[in-house]
Symmetry: C2
Subunit: 441 residues, 2 copies
């Protein structure tokens, strides 16, 4: 079993060099223009190595499922197939099962969203929601505004439809409203067509920060003013470590927000069940787009999620996840504090899966990665989370999957690699020491 | 539970009129160009009515799952979740599980295909394969050659990427090679870029015919000559009523065929497990495209299919399906013979799910559909299977889902509606009687 998305996909969509294989590809002249960017990066070559058991992977975004009640789930799934198999194994509507769409509204209510089940479209993970929203809205050359850094899977979808990403700066309180306004003005002044603001307001991937509540209305107002639709991606919203939630952007502006939700982090990623909540007219088009993408999401999987929500204490289960991730976050922060050399800084997440680390000037996280893997630790280089070539001084460390003692060991190894890198840079006059100006998030 | 794809999706992607809702859609100016065609047709309004139990639906393409060993499957699924749940419920690779890809090669071997598991990519149903192959190859305006009529879900994918479909005539032996050559010449002479030949060689949907074996090499050669890649869609190939199979196009020309396979018709459609077998370089790009579409196909579903193939007599199960569909095909043909008015003609399928019926001149199957539904029978109008506005004198009748006695009753009702329609047309001078020139398939 290899690692998914978040991990080493990082640079796939943006790597420049043509591999030898491409040169030999007899179909080379036949691909669509959009396919040109889809070349596998050299990072993929590290993939097999990085998933070896001796490597501590702080790279992936795999949730820790150990707390799931497998015995109960096993019985429920058996019951679904035995008693309702002719439905569970059959095609269903592209829209998604009505009962599940009802239940999804209950889940979203926890973050202040009032929605009608008709406006929910079930998708094959929220990645598919992202893909289809981009399909509906983005012509080649259209601009999507996104936090800088942003979720690599979203950048992949934008690239697949030849949309251009403009990164907007964040700080410790998330997306900076004035930066967004300025970016939208620049786009308008240069005649670029901005279609979406793509944002992860809560426990950001990869930055680990949360959009301040007092910024939310302002950001929504800016988007309305500039006529830009908001795509709110919220896979981690219920994973606040103190159980705290924040008002979803969708709850504050139902008409101008397309909301993307997922059971991957609060239940089971391998079922690939996510959803989109969209304004009515958009929802109708999403259903049509779903039909041409997959006919319908898997029926059995929807029934499993539905049964789980109906019969299990899923809120209690989410509390257990919060507790587990909190312990790992604590392990990560204390290890960073203990081991990382001076000049490194990092964010302090209140929920979710990730810490965003900035390393001293002179260290290049992308170039360093093979040496880290050789030292048996893996991370995701910051460059993968941007389309503008920046991010060489950043990396994403995930604490979601490895247990605390492995996190500790991983950070210890990483610190060793970093020190060696800094020594090397220093020797070459590349490393100005801890006095280098701290870079913005 | 509503019906999927094949049924009333029919005209969705091609309907012209803007509904009231579209006019009121505040996002109207924001959609991508490709989204313009995605308006729901009036046929969708019939959907709810047509899925009422009193209506005999000969419209959908739902497989009959009654023969599946639900008890055994239930136990197997329970075991997977209980013993291997941390894998089954977790993300996996975008490429698909290695064991399943191995087994898929065994399945394909039944139709003469020798393939390496590395070149198999698991997809969320073969619809997703179709969508991604189109994504990789088709720029807006590129031409896809397809049989006329062709599978409505494929036409939907082509439309989603703004590819233009050129229909190539079939006869009782499938696609006509000379017609294909002529169409490719015309395209070349008018400077159009043809990217794919999309074809369903075996037990065609919707036409119910099979491409003659002696035409296969010729068609492949024509495609090589014109530099056109072949997309071979083969969901029904193992459902020949005498257990007969035909050599897959892929087996005859591995380098110029992308092969689409599915477990939806030979096992369970609701699991949404299909695959693409592609030349090596194309396969690499498909994996990248899968990542941006859904991250990975559902893990549990892949394990269910894999366990089923490993432990169950799946070939025996396919024989049971063949037997069941053969009985239904027989019921359909004898009912057509008995009830349909003079002037109607139809194909005689040797496998698969569908009969293609041509009605006398003056009858319009699209216009007639609401009246058929009022008479408690539904079918798919021929217009949905073409993009050129033709097909008004054709309809697809599915015998896959209703039991024989329902098929019988459905055709009886349909015949009544047809007679009334012909009387009406005759009264208006629209119906020239049974002497009207028979139209080509």
């Amino acid at each position: 079993m290899t690692e998914p998305g978040g991990a080493f996909m990082t640079d796939n969509h943006f790597a420049k060099p043509q591999s030898r294989r491409d040169v030999l590809d007899p179909h080379l002249g036949r691909y669509a223009a959009r396919t040109a960017g889809m070349t596998a990066s050299e990072i993929r070559a590290l993939f097999a190595v990085a998933s070896r058991p001796e490597v501590v992977s702080l790279a992936g975004g795999m949730p820790d499922l150990a707390a799931l009640p497998l015995r109960t789930l096993s019985e429920q799934v058996a019951q679904i197939v035995a008693e309702d198999g002719l439905t569970a194994l059959q095609y269903a509507s592209a829209h998604g099962l009505p009962l599940l769409r009802d239940q999804i509204c209950d889940v979203m209510a926890l973050e202040g969203i009032r929605a009608h089940p008709d406006d929910v479209v079930v998708t094959v993970g929220s990645q598919m929601g992202l893909d289809l929203v981009t399909r509906l809205f983005c012509d080649p050359g259209d601009v999507v505004m996104a936090e800088g850094p942003s979720y690599v899977g979203a950048l992949g979808s934008f690239a697949a439809y030849q949309a251009q990403v403009v990164h907007v700066a964040m700080d410790g309180h998330g997306l900076v409203p004035e930066e967004l306004r300025a970016a939208l003005r620049r786009a308008r002044d240069t005649g670029r067509r901005v279609k979406l603001l793509y944002t992860i307001p809560n426990f950001h991937n990869p930055a680990g920060v949360t959009l301040a509540v007092e910024r939310r209305e302002e950001i929504l107002e800016i988007c309305r003013t500039f006529g830009v639709l908001v795509a709110e991606d919220n896979p981690y919203g219920l994973l606040g470590f103190d159980g705290q939630t924040y008002p979803a952007l969708r709850s504050l502006d139902p008409d101008n927000v397309v909301y993307l939700g997922s059971f991957s982090k609060t239940f089971a990623s391998g079922l690939r069940v996510g959803w989109v909540l969209a304004p009515h007219a958009v929802r109708e088009k999403l259903v049509l787009a779903t039909e041409s993408a997959t006919l319908c999401p898997p029926t059995l999987n929807q029934m499993i999620v539905s049964r789980y929500l109906a019969t299990h204490d899923w809120k209690g289960q989410i509390k257990a996840f919060q507790q587990s991730y909190r312990e790992r976050r604590d392990a990560m922060l204390s290890a960073l504090e203990r081991y990382l050399p001076p000049g490194c800084t990092w964010t302090t997440p209140d929920g979710g899966f990730y810490v965003w680390v900035t390393v001293p000037e002179g260290v290049d996280t992308k170039a360093m990665l093979p040496r880290a893997v050789a030292a048996r630790v893996a991370y995701a280089s910051g460059t993968g989370f941007r389309t503008d070539g920046l991010g060489h001084r950043q990396m994403r460390l995930s604490y979601c999957y490895p247990p605390p003692e492995r996190i500790h060991e991983g950070v210890r190894r990483l610190a060793g690699v970093l020190r060696a890198e800094m020594d090397l840079a220093h020797g070459h006059g590349r490393y100005p020491g801890v006095l280098g100006t701290p870079v913005a998030l």
